[in-house]
Subunit: 430 residues, 2 copies
């Protein structure tokens, strides 16, 4: 067979163990928090009929699909996100008990131009509540988000909320609708980065708003939450948004997370399908990396596969961004190997003892390797060292005759002799 150069597609990544281990630990912890709130895992195929996905992400999104014809000439594509497959599943399984609370952690594919931090395959991590119109569901997304960040060791974070109905009310007031509305919101979204003067300039030049409309927008953006209701005295949808936001804040208070929730009226997010609450989440010591967890309520989306629509709300973790943030904050312990203890093999005759010790350690929950082969102890220690295994056990014939082993701390180089029973107890403790 002709040899082929080993290479990987641009925009794709291998996760070698040193990254995969802490990343997997992070995702396991996240899944465990999701389950602690009663969210159940769901899995859907990587491939879908193209028409299931097309038209859901805008023209730009359609172009980014990995779309092709299979051997049976079916028009298929790799999933672009986890929300449309969820909608398909709910559409096909109308008898699912509602509220249906699911999480889904899986890769998605987008043929973006690869660049710094932009990949063609990346992991999404979504949690959604399908079939509840109660704002308790919106509040639960805040609670689960806060619990996730705390479980990962982050204490300084802020969940920022807005309500799409407020934005709709605002845009009605300045008489902007349709594609122009989306344009205005995109400009407003830039406010934190470019400041008020530049934003006002763009609203006039790009979005063709007059000075009065701009004034109305900036007046809105500066409102305190308790001023929203009177600002929207004349707008039914605006008043509804204000009431929802107030109720959400009251629920956050009941949930004991009010101090982590802030109103940010400039959050706009995918105007196309959000209908109520919208979320973004910032690490306060790393605001510049952007929102690490975003989402919102989308009450009209699941109707897209026919049948009645089902009110839904969800929040999605930016896995790579959050992992990067945790690394920056020193909350990721790099690890090359899961192994905690290497049992060295002195010679062929003591191998059985090495295996016995390893079996006892594993039974006590200690992740344990036995060196594969025999050979100089120095070589075996080097292996442990290169794999960053913290502890090595030496069990030579003399020690074994006394029912003892030597425990070597490979960081400090110190060693001590202990009984085999004592070893298991000591290492199992930690």
């Amino acid at each position: 067979m002709a040899t082929v150069e080993a290479r990987i597609l641009r925009g794709f990544r291998d996760y070698l163990p040193d990254v995969m281990l802490p990343r997997q630990r992070m995702l396991d912890r996240v899944a465990s928090v999701f389950e602690s709130f009663g969210f159940a895992p769901l899995s859907t195929p990587a491939l879908e009929y193209a028409d299931i996905l097309l038209g859901k992400y805008g023209d730009e999104g359609d172009k980014l699909l990995y779309r092709f014809f299979d051997n049976g000439e079916r028009d298929i594509a790799l999933r672009y996100d986890l929300t449309v497959p969820l909608a398909r599943v709910v559409g096909m399984n109308r008898d699912l008990v509602k509220p249906f609370k699911r999480y889904h952690i899986a890769p998605v594919w987008r043929a973006e131009t690869p660049g710094r931090g932009r990949f063609r395959e990346f992991t999404q991590c979504d949690v959604d509540i399908v079939g509840s119109e109660s704002l308790m569901a919106d509040a639960e997304c805040l609670a689960v988000g806060a619990a996730v960040l705390r479980a990962l060791g982050v204490e300084r974070f802020e969940l920022r909320v807005n309500n799409r109905k407020l934005l709709t009310g605002l845009l009605e007031r300045v008489s902007v609708s349709g594609a122009a509305a989306l344009g205005v919101l995109r400009t407003v979204d830039k406010l934190p980065k470019i400041g008020e003067d530049k934003t006002r300039e763009l609203l006039q030049s790009e979005n063709k708003l007059d000075a009065a409309a701009c004034d109305a927008i900036f007046a809105f953006l500066k409102l305190a939450p308790d001023e929203l209701a009177s600002f929207f005295a004349d707008s039914e949808i605006g008043r509804k948004g204000a009431a929802e936001l107030a109720e959400l804040l009251a629920l956050a208070e009941s949930l004991g997370i009010r101090d982590r929730v802030a109103v940010d009226l400039s959050i706009a997010r995918g105007l196309d399908y959000y209908t109520g609450t919208i979320y973004e989440t910032f690490l306060l010591d790393l605001e510049s990396i952007g929102s690490v967890m975003s989402g919102g309520r989308y009450d009209d989306m699941i109707g897209m596969f026919g049948g009645e629509s089902i009110p839904s709300v969800g929040i999605s973790l930016g896995v790579d961004r959050l992992f990067f943030g945790l690394q920056e904050l020193g909350l990721v312990t790099p690890q090359v190997s899961p192994t905690q203890v290497l049992v060295t093999v002195f010679d062929e005759n003591t191998r059985k003892h090495a295996y016995d010790i390893a079996t006892q350690l594993r039974a006590a929950g200690v992740r344990t390797e036995v060196f594969l082969g025999t050979g100089k102890l120095k070589k075996q220690f080097q292996y442990a060292d290169r794999k960053q295994i913290p502890t090595a056990i030496v069990a030579g014939p003399d020690e074994l005759a006394r029912g003892e082993v030597t425990v070597k701390d490979l960081k400090t180089g110190t060693q001590q002799t202990v009984t085999i029973d004592g070893l298991v107890a000591a290492l199992a403790r930690g």
Copy 2:
């Protein structure tokens, strides 16, 4: 937007929570056993350059690839297994510390004709040791396989081993090589199903062997392990195979798993790339479902991406088959929801208390939902019942005034009143 019928591609599956929950629990347990032996997780992209995959699985395999041109006219394909991507990773990262022990649990895609138990997307679960020629590595695959099955509650299983060098020696003796050799082994593989007479008939009619060759093959198949060395007195490779098998059995003895390991000289498996030990694993109470864990040593494979070859050995779990087996053996607890306790919401005024109780329970490790909304208790119990949540908590104003709640067992219908502190302690216990 025009509505599209919600449908899934043939040969693909959604895993709804009732299957996904126990399946995920199984895979988590498997991963934990892998890590307890020092195997680290690896992740590779779903998509590879087609030429990385082509020619590795035979002509049949090449045809089953999901292969297409991406937007940049690159010839790409979805991975067909996890072994070739491993070989690519090792080829691209020559400095990985050896032995490199990795596991990988991920979907693969094959455009097979869908049928009973045959899907176009399925999960593989591989554990491999790259860069050790020691038979201790082969033995470790047996040990990790046995540990996996025990961790899943299976006690009656058998790991069956053979050695490809024995088969090579045998085929040399009967003067068969190349494609014809593969044909002979495929016929021999049928022996357990069709019996000796029919197998002999096929060896003569299909494989064109004479009676003496057939005699030699059946003489070989009936050998006891300790007769192999003298049978192959004249064959260097046969003697080497016999010595390796004997050493493997001795290592299994040292590992304390000799009683779960049997020699089966009829196991042939993918002759194309195995070079030494080969494995299959049977659940003794469900032999008919076939091998649930298979693999072997492939010392020449990683050289296919250029550079020197690296001796490797691995074993792969048939995730779907094993899960089916566990279901049949009654070892899978069906579960619709991860939730252990539903905290009902009596009214708006007691909601904060419901949240507080839930937070305390979660902190104690109890997976807890709060009913999303208020409404008749009967409706809330029905929800718990349909989600098979075993326990519900009622915390009405009178109970809360006394610092108490009512715990209702939804299976038996019995209920008792306990203090809130007592509740957490009781439910956390289990």
